[in-house]
Structure formats: C-alpha cells, structure tokens
C-alpha cells in the first residue's frame, strides 16, 4: 500500500469513492468555468489510484478487495479487483483522464451540455469499476447492466442519429443481457450459487450440452458488446455520433468491457482446456474455433465496411469493431504469445484509437464537418493534429514504428506458430484493408488541395492537441519499447491463469523468429535520419510553392476549380467489392435489425412467462442496490 487510507479503505474503495464523487460533482459543476479541470483532476486521481493498485498487484498482492458488500438471496456479493480487472481498469481510468483533459478547455466551453458530457463520463467510469471488480456472476450481471445503461446515457446526450443508434444499441444490449441472464440461471441451476468458485467446481459435472449452452450464451451475450459479427451493426453509428471525447472514451474502452467479460467467463471460469474439449461431433471443430472464426470475420468484414465510409468517425468506429476481432483472436490462440498479443492489442488500440478519434473531433471542432469529401489540405493549417492523426493511423494500420505493429505481429506470429494459416491470412487481409482506409482518412482530411473556406482556420487549442499528442506519444514509446506495455499485460495474463510470455524491453525472443523493436525502431529512425541527411546535404535547397502551381496538363489552375480527388477514393476496389457490400452487408443489416427486434420481444416473452419470480427478484436486487449502494461502503 503506497499510502495510508483513512477508515480502513482499500484502494478499490477509494477508487469507487472518487468515481462516485466525480459523477455527482461533475454533474453539478460540469458547466462551471473550471469544471473541466476539476474533471481532469478527479480522473487523474482515479488514474493515480489505479497505477498505485498496479504497483500493489505487481508486488504480489493477489487481488484487491472492496469493502462494498451486499447480501442477496443468501448470497453475499463482493467486489474484488484482480490483475485482469486491473488491466482493463487502467485503460478505463486512463481513457477517462485523457477524455476529460480534452474536454477541459475550449471544447467544454463551446459545448451546449458539458455538464452531461462530464457527468456521463464519470458515471461510465463508476459503472466500469463495478463491472471490472465483480466478484461473482450476479455482480457481473449487475455491473454489466449498469455499464450498458451508462453507455446508453452517454450516447443519447447528443440527440439526433446517435440517439437512434443508442436505441438500437439498447435493443442489442437487452438481448445480450437476456442471454447472460439465462447463462447465470444455467450456472445457478448447476452450481447452486453465483460465485465464481462455485461455478468452477461445478464445471466437471456439467454435461456437454450444458457446456455448449453456457458457451453460446456467454459468447453471444458478451459478444454483443464487442460487436462481434452478426451483432456488429449497432456500434459504429452509436459511437460515431456521440460527441467528442465521450466518443473517444466509448471507442477506446467501452467495447472492451465485452472482451473483459468474455475472457472472464470463457477463459477464467470455463477455461481453455474445457473449451478445447467441446467439439462438434464428427468434425473435430472445437468451440474456440467457432469463436475464432467469428473473430476473424469480425476482423475482415467491418474493416472493409470501414473502407466504404465517408464519415471520418464512422470509418474509425468500424475499424474499432474490426480491431476487436484481433484481440479476441489473439486470446483464443491460447498460447502465451497469442494471449499476450491479444491483451497488448487492447492496450495499444486504446492509445491510438483515442488519439485518432480526438484528432478527428479536433478537425470537426474547427471545420464543422467530418465528411471526408468536404475536407482536404488541412495539413498546412492544423499540423499538430495531423501529426497525432498520422501516428494514430500508423498504429491502427499496424506498421512499425508504432505499437499497433507489435501486438499485431504477436497475433500473426502466434497464429503461424500454431499452424492456423487461414486465420493468419484473415488477420493479414484485415490489416491490408486497414492500410487502405486509413490512408483515405488522412488523405481526405489533411492532404490534397486546401478548400478555400478552410483557408483561415487555426490549429486546435493546446487543451485538445496535447492529449492526443501524448496518447500518440505513448503509442510510439510502447512501440519502441513494447516491454513496458507487456509488463502491464503480464498482470492480466497471470490473473487469467495463462503462462506468462517471457519478454524484454524491446520485444520477445522466440526460437522461430524474434522481434526486437528497439532495433527495428532504432534503425528505422536512424535510417530516416540518414534519409534526411541525404535530402538536405545532396542537391540544392528546396523552394516551397503553393497548391495552384501544379501540373494540370498544361492548364492554369484557379481557386474555384475543385482539383482534389477524394470522393469514392478506391473506385476500382469499390467496383469489385461494392456489389458484395451493397448486396450482402446492407441486406444483412436489414435482416439482423428485424431479427433483433423479433428475438428481443421473444426473449422478453419467454422470460416473463417462465421465470417471472426470478426476474422480479433480480429487478428487486437492482433496486435494492440503488437504494443501499452508498450505504454499502464501509460496512
């Protein structure tokens, strides 16, 4: 314990207290002049506590308990935070810190309802803390519901298309919650309780059919939040149209809660060995194979949907869905390398995706649009935002020297080493699509001809550029020295019960080909330095000209000629995959929408008819929790 706490509070208690206080305070004072900086301060404190917890865990503290307790149905609910939860908690508080920083200055002043933005952000952090530190299945369920509703509250604040998407999201989330609820009932029926240990103990006695049911219910229920492929349709619009830093927060961590719960339920509770035993008869296909293929499809399909987008935010959020596939796939490889790769990707993704979303919102802040067809040439006007976006897209595309490359490399490598060629090809193909679409993103916003109406705009204020530059910087540093991030990942990996991956500061050493990013990045930077030397020493000095001094077949350009290629950026590709996109994706979207509505009603009906008492009970528990939540502390 790095510092003493009053009243016997554990650090988890402190964190919960900070989060709860932040929720209340920011809702009250979010619009005040310094409200934004208060938010930054509070989230900074939460981040500091989280880091302190990490030091504790690294010192071998095991799990950090909370004083918060509840007794329901004779079951005592407890909240404790282990390494896995802490890993995700670090991302949560980190994301909240950078988001609130971004909102603290000019952004907060120009927003209509900064109070709500700050309040919902803090509320989200609070509910996530509850979810991540859940000590049993019921706690998990409660946390899950809270997180869903908090995210919903965040999404509807802007109104307009985001609200539409948020309702759709709730529909999916309800369906997921129903599945989860059913899973809990199955476990309760078999184990007689909600505790994790009770469930683990009951596993060997469960029939294959029951295990399959559990697997399907957990994967389906949590997969909704991760937007795994057939349930992916809600996420992009819901996250895109949420304003500013809230969108960045949602993108970076919200969907990762689904991953956390999946890891918890499938890896920690059921375990890889049990899962590996689950095979479809006569085929030898394991249950994880099914999920891995779902992950692979999630990698590829949303990536190519992202390629078709014309809104910068939609493009990025679709990529967010695709990147989720990489994480899940890495974890499902089930080797230390793969799991470490998957978890590292969670961390890396949070850094670069936040930088990207924040940069895009900085552009929106200045120009008022995120339409990729209406921007262009902003590099001269907003160079810092450009740098942040550039570093972000290098990470997202998974190219050296950014951190995205390291985690993707580990995932590819794990797949190749375990001889899963088709999955690794899918991973590579997803990356190729990413490269195409991120270039479109940066080209259409920052390169090409500057539009005349953007001629006078200024760089985004420091309060906005600094957070994204710091995030991009973290991305670069953890790309240069991935060992830093891998040590964080170790905590989670240890808590998952997976063997640790031996690593050093620069990467990993493997018999089948190693990676040392210190060398890779060092040489790359050095070589670019040599390139600069060649550029500046050889040849006469450069003369910078303007954009109308340009080749136009001998014609004269003037300001009123639109001489900028941005709309339909990949026409050839669109012609090849466009029919498929229009035919398949759009139809699937429609069909799934209908299906979700029908099945949502159906589940409702089934549960109300069959388990009305239990359902009422759960609702009562939730109500109780609300009533006695605050009183629970310290008891």
């Amino acid at each position: 314990m790095p510092f003493a706490l009053p009243f016997d509070m554990t650090s988890l208690d402190l964190l919960m207290a900070i989060a709860a206080a932040a929720t209340v305070l920011l809702y009250l004072f979010g619009t005040a002049r310094l409200g934004g900086y208060l938010a930054t301060l509070l989230h900074g404190a939460a981040l500091a506590v989280t880091v302190a917890m990490g030091l504790d865990l690294a010192a071998g503290a095991g799990a950090i308990p909370s004083s918060l307790r509840l007794t329901v149905l004779g079951q005592q609910l407890a909240w404790t935070l282990d390494g896995l939860g802490w890993f995700f908690l670090l991302l949560t508080t980190g994301a909240a810190f950078f988001s609130s920083w971004y909102m603290a200055g000019e952004w907060g002043r120009v927003q209509q309802r900064a109070r709500i933005q700050h309040g919902t952000l803090a509320l989200n952090v609070l509910t996530m803390v509850l979810l991540l530190s859940a000590g049993d299945l019921l706690g998990l369920f409660i946390g899950w519901e809270f997180v869903s509703w908090a995210a919903f509250a965040m999404m509807i604040q802007a109104g307009g298309p985001a609200t539409q998407a948020a309702y759709r999201y709730m529909l999916y989330a309800l369906a997921g919650a129903m599945a989860l609820f059913a899973a809990i009932l199955v476990v309760h029926g078999a184990a007689g309780g909600f505790g994790f240990d009770q469930m683990r103990a009951a596993l060997p006695d469960m029939s294959t059919g029951m295990l399959w049911t559990l697997f399907a219910l957990f994967a389906g229920g949590f997969g909704v939040k991760m937007a795994l492929v057939p349930t992916h349709l809600w996420q992009a619009p819901a996250y895109s149209y949420t304003p500013g830093a809230s969108s960045a927060f949602l993108n970076a961590v919200s969907a990762r809660m689904g991953l956390f719960a999946l890891i918890l339920s499938l890896v920690k509770l059921i375990g890889f060995d049990t899962l590996a035993g689950l095979r479809i008869p006569m085929t030898g296909i394991e249950s994880t194979d099914i999920l891995a293929w779902v992950a692979a499809i999630t990698m590829v399909v949303p990536t190519y949907i992202a390629l078709m987008q014309t809104d910068a935010r939609m493009l990025l959020t679709w990529h967010g869905i695709g990147q989720g596939g990489y994480m899940l796939l890495g974890i499902l490889v089930a080797t230390p390398l793969g799991v470490a790769g998957g978890l590292l990707h969670v961390f890396n993704y949070a850094t670069y995706q936040m930088a990207l979303i924040l940069a895009v919102f900085a552009v929106i802040h200045r120009t008022g649009t995120a339409d990729l067809d209406e921007l262009g040439g902003l590099i001269t006007r907003m160079p810092l935002t450009y740098v942040a976006l550039l570093m972000g897209i290098i990470g997202l595309a998974g190219l050296p020297p950014m951190n995205g490359f390291v985690s993707k490399w580990m995932i590819y490598k794990a797949l190749i080493v375990t001889q899963q060629p088709l999955l690794s090809i899918a991973a590579f193909v997803g990356t190729l699509g990413t490269i195409l679409s991120v270039y479109k993103l940066i080209h259409n916003i920052f390169l090409g001809q500057l539009r005349v109406e953007h001629r006078e705009i200024r760089e985004a204020p420091w309060s906005m550029t600094l957070p994204m530059l710091v995030l991009a910087g973290i991305g670069f540093v953890t790309g240069f020295a991935p060992g830093l991030a891998l040590s964080i990942v170790d905590q989670a990996q240890a808590a998952m019960g997976v063997a640790l991956l031996p690593h050093h500061l620069g990467g990993v050493v493997l018999a089948t080909g190693s990676l040392n990013m210190l060398w890779v990045v060092g040489v790359l930077v050095g070589a670019i330095g040599v390139g600069a030397l060649i550029f500046y020493v050889l040849g006469n000095r450069r003369f910078e000209t303007h954009q109308y001094d340009n080749y136009a077949g001998g014609h004269f350009l003037s300001a009123d000629i639109r001489y900028h290629f941005s709309h339909e950026f990949y026409p050839g590709l669109a012609r090849v995959i466009g029919p498929w996109y229009r035919g398949w994706v759009v139809r699937m979207e429609h069909g799934l929408g209908v299906l979700a509505e029908v099945s949502g009603d159906l589940w409702h009906g089934v549960f109300r008819a069959a388990y009305t008492p239990l359902y009422v009970l759960i609702v009562a528990v939730l109500g109780l929790f609300w009533a006695g939540g605050a009183g629970g502390f310290g008891s």
Partner: protein, 380 residues
Amino acid sequence: MRPQNYRPVAHPPSHEYELYFGPNHPGIEGNYAIRVRLKGDVIQEAIADGGYLHRGFEKIMESRLWIQNVALVPRICVPDPVPMEDSYARSVEALGGLEVPERAQWIRVLMLEVSRICAHLFTFGGNAATIGLYTNMFWGVSMRDLFLDIFEEITGARIYHMYITPGGVRRDLPPGILDKLSAVIDELERRAPEFDDLFFDSTVVMNRAAGCGTMTQEQALSWGVTGPNLRACGLPFDLRRDDPYLVYPELDFDIPTETAGDALARMRVRKAEVQQSIRILRQVIARLPSVKGPIRCPLPNPLAWNVPAGEAYARAESSKGELGFFVVSNGGDKPWRVHVRGPSQMHAVQVLENLLTGARIEDIAQIMFSLDACPPEVDR
C-alpha cells in the same frame, strides 16, 4: 504570380472534381485537351478543348497562290498528309477543268495507300501505348519508318511530301522504287503476326478494348462518324467505293466491317484495312509499269494562274474518314475560300464528348486513340 494574389472562392458543394487531359498529357493524341468532370473515376462530363494547333490555314490559303497552297495543305493533318494533297489537287482540277493523266492517278493511289498504312501503323502504336503496351508502339513506328523511306525516295521528304500538285504529280517515280515498295510490303506482312500476338490476341487488350467507347450504328450515323469508325459499327461506307475517285473503280479490294462498334472493333477494322491497302498496292505495283504517259497535264504559268470562278467539293477517304475540300474561286490567282472538312472535326469533338460521358479515366486515352482523332485537322 504570388500565391497570396489568389482570390478566394468557395468550392461548390459537390463531390465532383476536374481533370485536364492535355494538352501536355501522354493520353492525348497531339496537342489537344479534354477537360473532364469526374466523380470517383467516372466521367460526368467531357469538354473537348481545341485550338492549340490553330494556324489559320483557311485564312492564309486565301492569301497565297493556288500552287503555293500545295505546300500548305499536307500540314493540315500530320500523320496522314497525302489525302490532303490529293483532295486539294482534285478540287482545283475540278475548278480548272484539268484532266489528270492516268499514270499520275495510279501514282496518287500508290501514295494514298502507303500513307494510309503509315497512319494506321501509327494509330496501332498509339493505341497500344495508351494501355502500356509500348513494345507494339516501338515496333509499329519503326515499321512505319520503312514506308517513310519509300516516301522519301519518291518525293524527297519523309512527312510533308508536297508531291501531288493540281494536274498530276510533281515528278515521276524513281527507278526501282516499286521493287523496294514490294519488299517493304512483304516485310510488313511477315511482321503482321507479331502485331497480332502482341495486340489483337492479347487478353489484356481484349479485356480493355472490348466494350470500350461503344457506339451503335444509329448513333454513329447521327453523330456524323465516317471512315473506319463507322465501318466498325457495321456500315460498309467507303468513299473509294461509294463516291469513287482516281482509279479506284479499277481496283479490287474489300471494305472490311465489324459490328461491335467499340475500340476493339475499330482497331480490327484498321488492321483489315491495312491488309486491303496491301492488296491495292500489289495491284498498283503490278499495273504501274504498264501505264505510260505523262505525269502531269500541262498547266498555265502557276504564278499567274487564274482558276475559273466556281466552287468544288472534293472528298476522299482518308485513314480517318471523310476528308473534304470545299474550294471557291472568284476567278483570281488565289483561292477565294477554302474550307477543310476533316473527319476528326466530328470524331474529336462531339463524338468524343459523347463517348467519354459515363466512361472511366482509364478509357479516355483508349477512346481517343481508337477514334484516331487528329487534332490538327480539327484546329486547321
């Protein structure tokens, strides 16, 4: 010009942008420009922009003697100059009532057909180069050079011969030239399969040229398309047969047609035409030695030659289509009015604009070269 001097104007809210094909662009035949408005890579609107090669021929011909203009006319269409000389000469002959001696007519046919082969070889090369098949261009152009040598030996010049004058030709054929010509023709026939392999049998060419710039026969007729481009739509219209001039009625040749009306069909028609020209040349080579006589009818003093008043329209089938010279004389020593009707005036402007609309960036050069549009003919 200082960059800050650019006056700001808001861009229109549109997803369309502009590209400039030419005049300084390798996808353009000669010095010509097409401005295209695009969305993605699909052309929404194409506007032909000519005049880069405008020399005011029709004006300066009015200020020169009838005979002086012989030097000017071949320069109207650079790749295929001989039909220009011939048509001008025939229009003046019609005005002045001159009868061209038979030998001169045969020599003119020889020149015309060699020029047609040259022009088609050049078009092959250009068309192949637009889709990156430079080998074909290199071979085609060097093959054409052999024919230019024949020209040089006959007339003293490779490109602008100024050989066909009103009333006949400037001088007789040099001895042995017919043997050399048939050797060159044999060489061309020997090489022809190579061009087939590279171009007409290539899957890539098929893939790109088939269906590219397609027009129906009705469209072609209403747009005023002539020459190989019209024949590629299935109409066997050839002025050598339909409105015969010189000694073409005595010659035996076919009029090749295709029905598809696309770039590939147009190139196939040209290839077949080269074969027909070879056939004609063989007949001419066989016949010429037996045609004796003068090569020019007696002319008055060309420096003081007042051509009788009147008007004449002489047309010829050039390698690109119908070429017409409308010449008006008021009885003076200079033409009163010369109007040149080049086939490309249709092909390079209205037809091109129509065909390009809805096409893609990659088709622009291909369509222009397959129409064999000749900008100097448009600009004059």
